[in-house]
């Protein structure tokens, strides 16, 4: 078994510190996404507001297979968390998670009511595997995770100047990894590669 056999993948993109929006606006936007069926392929259920928790999950659009959350406690970020299994192979699942997260980020960036206040970077992306049984936070798993993620990220970010990937095997935390990229392609290019 390797870590990405677990389906509980979290992908996180960061926004600039100055990119902060009113959480009330985000709540409204997520409710509207439900009305408009904005997230194709998802079964949206509700919007959960946890802004009152410092370093908490922020405002979450809860769906059946995944959660989509904007966090603004601490460094602003958009977090996609897959919850239910699919029949796809790990790399396909990884690509789907990336695509879902980036798509939602672009929706927020283009959201008229936010007037461009949110801008996400694709030069840094974090992953976590929320499954301590299949992906324990050990050095061995961290190495395996890097070995699986690297080729995926190399293909996705081809043309970038430099890509570094670092996995974190703190046994107290979930297995995670962070990729940093210099001069990445923009989000639309990444999305087109993910759709291909």
């Amino acid at each position: 078994m390797q870590p990405l056999d677990a389906h509980q993948i979290t992908v996180k993109f960061y926004a600039d510190e100055s990119s902060r929006v009113d959480p009330d606006a985000v709540v409204k936007i997520f409710h509207r996404w439900i009305q408009e069926d904005r997230l194709k392929g998802e079964i949206p259920i509700d919007v959960a507001d946890y802004r009152h928790i410092r370093h908490g999950p922020g405002v979450i659009l809860v769906c059946h297979a995944a959660d989509y959350a904007l966090r603004q406690n601490g460094r602003p970020s958009f977090v996609y968390s897959r919850k239910r299994a699919s029949d796809d192979d790990p790399v396909t699942r990884l690509g789907a998670a990336f695509r879902a997260a980036l798509t939602a980020c672009r929706f927020l960036e283009e959201e008229p009511t936010l007037k461009g206040a949110l801008e996400f970077s694709v030069d840094e992306v974090s992953f976590r595997i929320r499954n301590r049984l299949l992906a324990p936070s050990t050095t061995a798993c961290a190495n395996t995770l890097e070995e699986t993620l690297h080729p995926f990220l190399d293909r996705l970010y081809q043309g970038c100047e430099r890509l570094t990937l670092e996995a974190d095997a703190d046994p107290k935390n979930l297995l995670s990894a962070t990729a940093r990229v210099q001069r990445p392609p923009n989000a639309d290019v990444l999305l087109s590669r993910l759709r291909a």
């Binding site: 009305q35 509700d46 959960a48 928790i53 908490g56 979450i60 299949l134």
Partner: protein
């Protein structure tokens, strides 16, 4: 390569009895998934393991424009009446008397991260709840909890719920004695007790170390125990003032005094006797009147007492009545492994304000209790893990440092006074150093419309708004109003305990010009002190968005009109409801939608308000008879026997078939006598005399034939059984179970 499982991973870390219970649940889950277990029985069974439904689990949600169907992959498969299989649910986790160890908190944090939204919620009964949990994840949640000594069994449903107690038990200067060991004994004695399996409704127990403070809230519990001592024959004896039949709900009932001094060794047998009387005489058809409080009202406390004492005299002796009490008190060694630099007394600027509201000295000299305020009772997984580490550093190495409270906070006990500034800094670094615990800003709320199917208005949305406004006004420092308690419930069922607040609110709705407007009924004058001595009264409904103004006017009124030392409830009583209501009358008018549409949606929810999303409540569970549960257990056992045979374990399969028949026989025997224990020989003997010799079990055509399957197997020694023989036994077991159903059906017709 086989996929690892938590069952394998945790292995012997899971206590065998808890492990077996979870295996049973997992089998039931599989049977339900295959449509082989009735949805009502599974529904009640999962509730009794704390697996609850959540809002929208009927597969419908109003999106603000229209009601939509949620097209879950499992289609029409249900996990209970009108609750779809794939719909996210809530896992309630019982924490007896609120005591949680740092290791347990670590695991709770892990579960929140992996199976939920990353948040742990502390309830008004010292439990935890995880929201948005998929039912298929629940067995593993239970296993990982069991491995650290936590069971979710009987967290919901018609059972004995979490036993609560003062979070300061053992450290409080005002307590008569530490009630911890008694609360623990009660929790584990009643857990799964046969006499507590046939209730028509839930049953709640609370312990208090004193009469004056509110920590125990015994007044509104089914059983409320207040610690007492008295001298008998020159010896100090411990006992309890016992109250029974309290409850909040839609119409609160204060508990009645059952015994002014019940000796400590009698608390478990008397509780058992009360359970028997409740199971026997409590209402089961009309769910709205099935709590013990209604039985007390119907019989009167004197008759109830008579019945209970009569039952007590008949009880077979049980060594656990005293064994369970013999575990030591919560008094801990006063050494610490702390290695802080206590010579660096940097006191952060916000420390004094926090200390003024969040710290209380213990009776153990040099120690203090620090309250960790959780906004809306929520803590993130990250914070929970960090708090566990804080508890390890600042609390006692021997444990019992952390407890949850009914005000939805944590307390950290046994903190050395000199270390308080460092503790504050540590808590502040993880966002848990908010002041105002137990003050007007510490607003308590049930989950309400966020996740509860019965929620009418957004209790959490309102509580959050009130909290933010009151903090901004710094009312936690305003000595004239800071001690007021505000509590919010999403509906009349009072999970937010609005009846015992100075200022309480519960969600309602009103219709205006064809639209529905969220309101809260204003409930004033509850008394929080003296174990929640009295209940407030509703004075009128105000639109949800105007409630902050209600609070402003009431706090201004209190500042202006209260005599020195006068409580808020006393002021309201002296003024009279009419006069107080007049103060709020103008807030009750609802303008037309076209003039101000803001009132037509609720706090934190931009959708136009509707009550269409309310669903079928599960708090009342289903009344499933003990027979139904027990015969379902026999069916599950015979199913497991089939699986064993499939795996080539003929011996195990034969044993399972026999166990299934004994279990079905026990189900029938227990309809006549609850005192027959689980010994197979005793069960077979009782079955023979009560059902075979009397021919009650006889089938019209087959006579007593199916009974002989049981008798024959009971006499056999099941050694070296072939696959054919096991298969044969399984078939006989299935026929015996069918005959059991038929017998029960005939008895019901008589």
């Amino acid at each position: 390569m086989s996929i690892p499982t938590w069952k394998q991973e945790l292995g012997a870390q899971i206590p065998p009895d808890l492990g077996r219970e979870i295996d049973i649940y997992e089998t039931e889950l599989e049977l339900r998934r295959q449509g082989k277990l009735d949805e009502k029985i599974f529904g009640e069974s999962r509730l009794r393991r704390g697996v609850y439904g959540q809002r929208y689990d009927n597969g419908h949600r109003h999106d603000g424009n229209e009601s939509r169907t949620l097209p879950y992959p499992s289609a029409a498969l249900t996990k209970g009446l009108q609750t779809l299989w794939d719909a996210p649910g809530m896992q309630r986790i019982k924490i007896p008397f609120g005591s949680v160890s740092p290791d347990q908190l670590d695991v709770l944090a892990e579960l929140a991260e992996e199976y939920s939204a990353g948040v742990l919620h502390v309830t008004t009964r010292q439990d935890f709840q995880l929201h948005y949990v998929h039912i298929e994840d629940t067995p593993d949640v239970m296993r990982r909890l069991a491995a650290v000594g936590i069971t979710t069994r009987e967290a919901c449903g018609n059972s004995v719920r979490n036993v609560t107690a003062c979070p300061l038990a053992g450290v409080c200067g005002g307590e008569t004695f530490d009630v911890t060991r008694y609360a623990r004994a009660m929790a584990y004695f009643l857990l799964g007790h046969p006499d507590a399996q046939d209730f028509g409704r839930k049953f709640k127990v609370a312990f208090s170390g004193c009469k004056d403070e509110p920590c125990g809230l015994t007044t509104f519990h089914d059983l409320g125990f207040i610690a007492r001592v008295r001298t008998e024959d020159g010896r100090t004896r411990r006992g309890f003032e016992l109250y029974v039949g309290g409850g909040l709900g839609a119409v609160p009932h204060p508990a009645k005094l059952f015994d002014p001094f019940l000796h400590e060794e009698e608390i478990l047998p008397i509780a058992q006797a009360i359970c028997r009387v409740f199971a026997r005489l409590g209402e089961k058809k009309n769910r709205a009147r099935a709590r013990l409080k209604f039985l007390v009202k119907k019989l009167g406390i004197d008759e109830l007492r008579r019945l209970v004492l009569e039952e007590r005299r008949k009880l077979p002796g049980d060594s656990r009545w005293t064994e369970y009490l013999s575990e030591g008190d919560g008094e801990l060694a006063t050494t610490t492994t702390l290695t802080l630099d206590v010579d660096a007394p940097d006191v952060p600027p916000a420390f004094d304000a926090w200390k003024a509201t969040n710290v209380r000295l213990q009776r153990q000299e040099g120690y203090a209790v620090a309250v960790v305020t959780l906004p809306l009772g929520d803590i993130s997984a990250h914070q929970a893990r960090a708090l566990a580490d804080v508890a390890r550093v600042f609390g006692k190495s021997s444990g019992d440092t952390l407890r949850t409270t009914v005000e939805q906070n944590f307390v950290l006990r046994y903190v050395t006074e000199a270390h308080l500034p460092k503790l504050f800094t540590a808590l502040d670094s993880i966002g848990l150093a908010q002041p105002g615990a137990g003050t007007i800003v510490d607003v308590t709320a049930c989950p309400g419309t966020d996740t509860c199917k019965l929620g009418i208005a957004s209790s959490r949305g309102l509580a959050s708004e009130l909290r933010n406004r009151l903090l901004a006004q710094d009312l936690a420092s305003d000595t004239s109003v800071k001690d007021l308690h505000i509590k919010v419930s999403g509906c009349f069922n009072s999970c937010g305990q609005h009846h015992v607040a100075d200022v309480g609110f519960y969600g309602v709705s009103r219709q205006f010009d064809g639209r529905t407007v969220p309101h809260f009924q204003v409930v004033l004058g509850g008394q929080w002190t003296e174990n929640a001595k009295s209940f407030g009264l509703a004075i009128g409904a105000v639109p949800s968005k105007r409630i902050p103004e209600v609070v402003t006017r009431l706090t201004d009124l209190y500042r202006r009109e209260a005599q020195s030392g006068q409580t808020f409830s006393s002021l309201i009583r002296s003024m009279g409801k009419a006069k107080v209501r007049a103060l709020l009358d103008d807030l009750m008018n609802v303008p037309a939608y076209e003039k101000d549409s803001s009132l037509y949606s609720d706090w934190g929810d931009p959708r136009e308000f509707t009550i269409g999303d309310m669903g079928r409540g599960e708090c009342a569970g289903e009344v499933i008879s003990r027979f139904a549960f027990e015969v379902a257990a026999s069916e599950r056992r015979v199913f497991e026997a089939q699986l064993q045979l499939e795996r080539g374990d003929a011996q195990g399969a034969a044993g399972g078939a026999y166990d299934a028949m004994v279990s079905a026989a026990a189900a029938l025997v227990h309809t006549q006598s609850t005192d027959v224990n689980g010994d197979p020989s005793r069960i077979v003997d009782e079955f023979k005399s009560r059902f075979y010799d009397t021919k009650l079990f006889f089938d019209r055509f087959a006579g007593g034939k199916f009974a002989h399957y049981l008798f024959r197997t009971h006499k056999k020694i099941l050694d070296d059984v072939s696959a054919d023989a096991a298969h044969h036994l399984i078939e006989e077991a299935q026929l015996f179970i069918e005959a059991t159903h038929a017998c029960y059906g005939r008895m019901a017709e008589v």
